[in-house]
Symmetry: D2
Subunit: 353 residues, 4 copies
């Protein structure tokens, strides 16, 4: 019955067999995998940048076009150019820039997706999470853990913008989407400002009180302190050849990442830093907090400056360079890949493939 | 600039804006989400069954059509009818029936995907994992952890078939696919048969020796023992209203699931068992070890008997019934969902939605 | 005010000061530590052996002297010769040989101490733990976790003896002793024999059911299986230079030791084995399951044979030798020391001190 | 052979038997336990106070009597009145007041004991731990983890005093004492001041860098921040009936206690606070940071004010009262008891016993 492997005759027979069993929802593995190379990741995503210069006018125009309340969330989603219309910036992550104008409210809801915020511009806005309010300042990193009630408001007189990072594609892929609106626009505030960081964020914890979920009970990481931190670390040692000085935001009640599905990082590149080539399996979205520089990736170069957002897909080699002292915020799905034993990195500079 | 929310004029303006920014890889969130219901999972997958009566002839025909070695793995993939051509049985899992004929070898390789095997028919075949061989018997549950070298062979005179479950769609979605062939057809055997279970599988462990990965160092769970186990548990208590008597295969060096990405279960339904309605966010693939019964799901009924395979998508309510005493093996991605805080179940019998 | 350090004058002054402040419950550290060497452990305990030949008649005499019920527990405690009257065999552990005669009952109680049993002689007795009964056979290892109700009985016609190992000195030192008698002689049996091992002891676990305490939910480790295990491991590799082939009993729901305060081990020494010198900070109590041999320790030699019990204090170097194939059971407080970061071992053969 | 249980004749026989087997290092359990009540802890330790008014002159006199270098550590040990000469303040803990005068050095060494410091008086001293220096201020909590090199110095012009808390009795009981002097008086400083808190102490952590030991990599918890923390928590909720507002110092890379053997706590009692009766199995040593009050314990009352040290033995019921707003530092062995499953508390106010 068998013809020579790879012969036209054999291939024709296999294809005929495949066509026949397809009706029964069956597919011969070796036919479907013919010529497919699975030796390494080949993300179809591409590197891309969204400059602040370009995004801010669009965002302000959106502000005129629709109210935060009518939009529920007035966000311009950053889509990977390889995935138009899919609302994802990497295979697993969603990114968007959100605008809240003075006096506006983004109403309260909760969902199974986790959201991270990195504040880009403005003062006077807040995010409330599970009954406690946090005021937002540029550079602050704020989390809204999965299934926590949250709403946003702007009580000042200037627009406030931030980068939203969500695990929406991942949660969608896993078919675990749940969402619920709060019966009122705003949830009631039940704890004084600063209670959560005082309880959990300073190397202390209320006796006998463990956090009841994987995400950090401290939901705000103020830029003032994180930046000072980073500068102290940078002053005290040699930079990593690829990353400069790089810290991860953690959950202080467990030591792990601030949220179970997304890792967030803050890194400092000294002026003149020319990083070695690097790649890892987790695609990264960067937001520039300070400084200017460029990234070499996908055979080209992307220049970046304050508030620009750029994406580097997983396993695409890249090199970071800084013109001035620079601070970059970034987010990836590394915690997911690490939890499942799938994360890898490569510092060989392309010696492998 | 704003027209009334929801008015034709406003919608037209928003659509025009969306079309304009789309060129810049930007998408207004509230436009894209118009009318989309995200309140709960709505898996497009459907329930389906692959009867042994139907599959066995196809598999034997595949055996005539191609050798195990030429095919590398002679597997008929079970595709969810809602995902033709995608080689997945649920959103995250791959299932296939593999045949190894007397004298054949399925050559050695390794990959970042984890594979589970549940033996359906035949005696005399083995799987080798990282230098140790395990002989396969019907009902045995065997794992090949991610990145472990493995090959299969049949040294007896009857065909051997098993169900393969892999996390291929998940690992593909995460863009963490790595694969490597061993330089020779078979890896060398470096430990006596039975060494791993003796070291780790009987409530003991070599002093000072921890396992170096999340997957169980015991890679074979023989049916003879697991079945006796299940019957002892079944003899000693009342069945769960939805599941009968249900055990999970675990990693005895950690207590968690046998592998970090897929959970595997063995459950016993006493003759006449009529289960209550149940749903959970993890879609399940069942393989019947013994007995006959049916499952009510997606508005229909699927009858099942020995060696049949059937799938129940996540969050689709279902009810299990047994005609005779029955034993079901099943696999889901529950460990992934639990690790990320996303797993939910519902025993309310459809009271919610 | 100060005289030369170490001078008689200075010492006198310091002593006078010490005497004066002693009235106020104050003590100068440097005075109290004068000449004390704290560079390494110097356990005052000594190595010792209790031969079965010597112990059995004493135990049988105790059986005539008092009933199990009147004694509550008819145990002859093995006291380290360096600690007469202190009921401890090492600094932290208690050891005793218990006898239950045909028809006797050792009544039900519970306590904050953990107890381990290693059966020495006899068939037909049981231990009940939290509503489940386990039948005892020579060589079986059985645990009664802290605060679990337990009673023993002998329903056969021969005496049954076992070695009891408890953390009594440790729990006493920590001042955490609690004890309670059950209102009746025996607790009710609420689960069929074999339920706990079926639920947790074979690489499986009831879905959704975690154990609620640190100790293993499997409280019996039958010798038949453990011995077979050990022999398989011994057949498949080279012995450790100091320990031969040595396995630890573990809690299969966590991977850690069977109990949080005491580690238990089973090791096989092939005939002719001459072990290298070894010491670790945990003192060990050995009970010979099979075979004959000797231990070189404390400058002398102890010969051992079946059912003998011997102790090696912590940080005392020792060497094990086997005349015949031998199997040794042992217990130490290593889990405590490891949990606190204090455990050390030394395989240098006395090169250090 | 048996006489009536409890009869003079039977007791005499048992005693004779006990005397005879004692020669063989054997002791009948039921004889030794006759009349002993093991139903609950009965710590022989007593409550006690060491007032600052009384201790400071003694400490200054010690300063004249001996140099820090000659004493190695110039410490006045606080001995529980029930344990004279034993250098322990509870069953498991050592407490002492240490003085370092201007210009002095306490030379570098390391040991398997863990030490905690709570600064009582003075500015201008430092502790160096594993190559990094921390400057001490009143109220600062500083740890020197087991086996870490550490030395102290005073570079200012005023005396500096602190409370030392060590697990010396515990480590001694476990026979795991190791100690080593550094070849020079001071270890070299290899990291800038503030590096460790910047790396690990602010909700961040260097990427890919886990701590390699159970103790916190942040070894200083400055009072300024901890106090502010405590006051924020106190402002935001109702006090615990027994403890007022009480926080535990934690290891931010794990969420557990700052060290594996000793827990440290800071609590705020508002003026007029009258605590409910409380007891737990861990004996506690308190040091008053601010304010005045009293503790009712052991049938008496102890008044306390700034810098006083008092001890409450385990399972002795006590009630705290504050005259003024007060801040108390305290240390216990609770982490040990919790790790071993032995810790208990009782808030019933003596309803039990």
């Amino acid at each position: 019955m068998r013809a020579e492997a790879g012969s036209a005759e054999q291939i024709a027979r296999e294809d005929a067999f495949a066509a026949r069993v397809a009706e029964r929802s069956v597919s011969p593995l070796w036919v479907g995998r013919r010529g497919v190379d699975l030796t390494r990741p080949r993300s179809p995503a591409t590197a891309a940048v969204w400059t602040y210069e370009r995004m801010r006018p669009d965002l302000m125009e959106a502000g005129e076009l629709v109210s935060a309340e009518d939009a529920f969330r007035r966000v311009l989603v950053l889509e990977n150019p390889a995935f138009p219309g899919e609302m994802r910036v990497t295979n697993t992550l969603y990114a968007g820039l959100q605008l809240v104008l003075p006096g506006e409210i983004a109403p309260c809801h909760r969902h199974s997706q986790t959201a991270l915020r990195f504040v880009v511009e403005g003062e006077g806005a807040y995010t409330s999470v599970d009954g406690e309010r946090t005021w937002l300042h540029p550079g602050d990193f704020v989390i809204t853990p999965q299934w926590s009630w949250h709403d946003h408001g702007n009580e000042h007189d200037v627009p406030v913008m931030w980068l939203d990072m969500l695990d929406t594609p991942l949660v969608g892929f896993l078919d675990t989407v749940f969402r619920e609106n709060y019966p009122e626009k705003l949830q009631p505030i039940v704890r004084a400002d600063g209670t959560s960081p005082a309880r959990f964020g300073n190397g202390m914890r209320p006796i006998g009180q463990m956090s009841d979920r994987a995400a950090s009970p401290v939901f705000s990481y103020p830029y003032a302190r994180c930046r000072e931190n980073l500068m102290t670390v940078a002053a005290g040692g040699a930079p990593d050849a690829c990353h400069g000085f790089k810290l991860q935001y953690i959950n202080p009640t467990m030591g792990g990442p601030a949220t179970p599905t997304m890792g967030a990082f803050l890194q400092m590149l000294p002026a003149g830093f020319a990083g070695a080539e690097y790649r890892s399996t987790d695609g990264a979205v960067f937001c520039v907090a300070e400084g200017t520089g460029r990234v070499h990736v996908d055979g080209g170069t992307i220049d970046w400056g304050p508030h620009d957002v750029f994406v580097v897909p997983g396993w695409h080699p890249y090199r970071l360079e800084a013109e001035t002292d620079a601070v970059l915020f970034s987010t990836t799905d590394r915690p997911v890949q690490e939890a499942l034993g799938l994360w890898r990195e490569d510092r060989s500079g392309g010696a492998g493939s």
